[in-house]
Symmetry: C2
Subunit: 443 residues, 2 copies
């Protein structure tokens, strides 16, 4: 990604840092300030893309020429950017880890100009994947045992949002995506059926089904709601039997409109009555965790669900109150005190305690390096601009996430609002905040 | 953009079309089904990116190899994709044109496989820019005469969303963006100040201001809310006078937290009382059209506003109920009848009527080619895969949009819900729908 995908102010600040030689070590942390309504926990996601970005950070010649010519920056400063690479350290929570407000999930330690320049893209990458993974986790918890497929590429906010929401939802327990590029890029299992336009382009609906099955003899899912859902299901019965004689398998139907539970029940009766009990029912259309939960609670005979728009735009809360804040510069802890936006200063660690059954009991926000009982969630992943290890495969991150969801207190695993998970702030951190406040000059 | 940025079902359908030789001309149209709550009109946007996508559509060798190896497609079909280019025609409403539900803003006429394959990305591009332009237009109408700057890159849903929301908001009347890459790419004016981290990295706030001004002597905007907004404004007064003596200009302050109207008033008094009436006040922080309107209505002495997250995620409605639907295949009109999702069949045109003062009085949805009084809004922009003209510059599109907003009925130009703009459906279209329905077989 272009180093110019950033806010102008990063560069205007860097001009000053260049002029003043302000190049000492800065510590920034990314955290969410406030739990969104209708979320009981958040899921760390997006680290892999942040590391890729940091590893490849540089200005191209065309970008430097443009900066030099835009009239805002001095030549010597722009020239200095030619050598800019990210040479800092990164610590982070593993992707798939549940977390809570005020807990940093990423810490960047680097010379001030580098650590500052990357702010915009780091927030841009982490906010989105955290948001989608946190939403997708709710859908996953609402539909145990059901196949869940991301269908949201078309209404995602642009190409990257489509790709990254396929990744974030899979990471949080979805079974696959319709997004072919995401399948090619990360090996996410792909699912797809047919569009209404496919049926419409044929003069006969049943001919459309037959053509499709013949082109995809091993497996196919027929979209049955273009004209009349139950009528299409009835037409499918003799067709499926006839094709089965040729070894051609129709293995599912998809319903995309109307009362999904009612249609699923009547279609299930038609298929079972027609001797097709193995043909599965897949449903889609304006689904989110609440609708999915209703369908499950109603006992609708739905085997799989396509969930798109509302999940991958996080439609009920399409942004997080999150920040990437300076916590230390030149060895001195710092904090912002703006009204309603004060932050905890210094390098921090999150210590998580578990009970004997491995269930989470509470977190402690403390200073990095302080001894504390429990597991420190932030792990060093990059040193001097280089990764310390190969990243885990996405399927492995997904297993970690599902395991971690199993450790959440039971109340947090439901869609109902739960009491906030206990996150204590260490006394050492309170003391540091007081110290920073007393020191900040108001000259 | 990769041709694989599409839903799997597009490719499974294309396999069937290949097997059956279904290659005749298809007509698809993109439209919004339903006006979102809290919008009185929509703004056409995103056409330029659609045309760029169509012009460059092709599969790379690596993509073809992956498709051939994924186990879902036959070799002869994958081989045929090597030659796939977009060779169709496109008609569209010019970007910046207000439109309403059921009105197509884009029509694609191409061999069925091509027209089908591009569905996902066309929706992905048009939905997002329409949504952001329509939201940004409301902010623009709520803040006449105020400088409006897009600050939303960091909380946009990924890189492309950040870029395209800078474009869509500028197109709809914003004055600029903080997104440097959008500035480089489209010449959108750039705005930026400094971050709180910049202030925090200094031991003295006033020294931070002075350093910044010295590095940017022609103009600078000081962020004054890191510790105490009014105290910072008071510190700025002697500094600004002292630097003015050296020809260094501090031209604005930014307030990013707390009660923006109250802070703006007290800061205005401090600046005016200190002999700095020319220093402007810029405000930011969780703004949308409603908060902007409140600030304007309260007479807050705010000259410019940074609007981000809520605008470029269209936070109150982060998706549109929109579709790209088959309207004709092989010369025969088609339509979908799914419950709640029926469409108007055939190639359509939107005819707009104006009164003597140039104000819009009503639209007519009719069949393309039918004679009707008024201006047809869809214009041919691409033929046989080639553009018919160079696209207008973004600044020209913006002028067109602002002019068009001036033609909207007065009630639609407010934030209050307005009666729906009249869109009539021509009798010929009703007749065609009846004809299509009577023809559709249910065999």
């Amino acid at each position: 990604m272009s180093a110019l995908l950033t806010d102008l102010y990063q560069l205007t600040m860097l001009q000053v840092y260049f002029d003043r030689g302000m190049n000492r070590t800065a510590v920034f942390e990314f955290f969410v300030r406030k739990m969104p309504e209708n979320r009981n926990f958040l899921v760390a996601a997006g680290l892999e893309q942040v590391l890729e970005y940091l590893e490849s950070l540089h200005f191209t010649e065309a970008e430097l020429d443009w900066l030099a010519g835009c009239g805002r920056f001095r030549k010597d400063f722009v020239d200095s950017l030619a050598d800019l690479r990210f040479s800092g350290d990164v610590a982070a929570m593993p992707e798939g880890t549940p977390f809570f407000p005020d807990e940093p999930i990423l810490r960047v330690v680097a010379p001030l100009p580098q650590a500052q320049l990357v702010e915009t893209r780091i927030i841009n990458l982490l906010q989105f994947q955290v948001m989608v993974a946190s939403k997708a986790a709710r859908v996953r918890l609402a539909a145990p045992g059901r196949l869940l497929v991301d269908f949201g590429l078309r209404r995602a906010h642009g190409a990257e949002a489509g790709l990254l929401s396929a990744r974030a939802s899979y990471l949080a327990g979805f079974d696959g995506t319709s997004d072919v590029l995401a399948g090619m890029k990360w090996g996410i299992p792909l699912y797809g059926t047919m569009a209404h336009s496919y049926i419409q382009a044929h003069d006969s609906e049943v001919q459309a089904f037959e053509d499709f099955a013949r082109s995809h003899p091993a497996a196919s899912t027929m979209l049955i709601d273009t004209y009349d859902t139950e009528a299409a299901a009835r037409k499918l019965v003799p067709l499926a039997h006839r094709l089965a004689g040729e070894g051609i398998v129709i293995n599912a139907v998809r319903i995309d409109s109307g009362d999904l539970a009612a249609h699923a029940r009547s279609v299930r009766r038609i298929l079972d009555g027609g001797g097709l009990p193995a043909v599965k029912i897949f449903a889609s259309g304006n689904l989110d965790e609440y609708r999915v939960q209703e369908l499950v609670a109603a006992g609708a005979p739905i085997d799989g669900l396509g969930v798109g728009t509302r999940m991958n735009t996080s439609a009920d809360k399409p942004y997080l109150d999150c920040a990437y804040k300076l916590q230390e510069y030149a060895g001195v802890a710092r904090r912002k005190r703006s009204e309603g936006k004060a932050t905890w200063p210094g390098r921090k660690q999150v210590i998580r305690s578990l009970d004997g059954a491995g269930r989470m009991t509470g977190d402690l926000l403390t200073m990095a390096g302080e001894a504390a009982a429990g597991r420190g969630l932030l792990e060093e992943v990059m040193r001097d601009g280089r990764r310390l290890a190969v990243s885990p495969a996405l399927a492995q991150i997904r297993r970690h996430a599902l395991e971690e969801f199993g450790r959440l207190p039971a109340a947090l695993r439901t869609l109902a609002p739960a009491p906030a998970y206990p996150v204590a702030v260490a006394e050492a951190l309170h003391a540091l905040a007081r110290e920073v406040d007393s020191r900040t000059t108001t000259d």
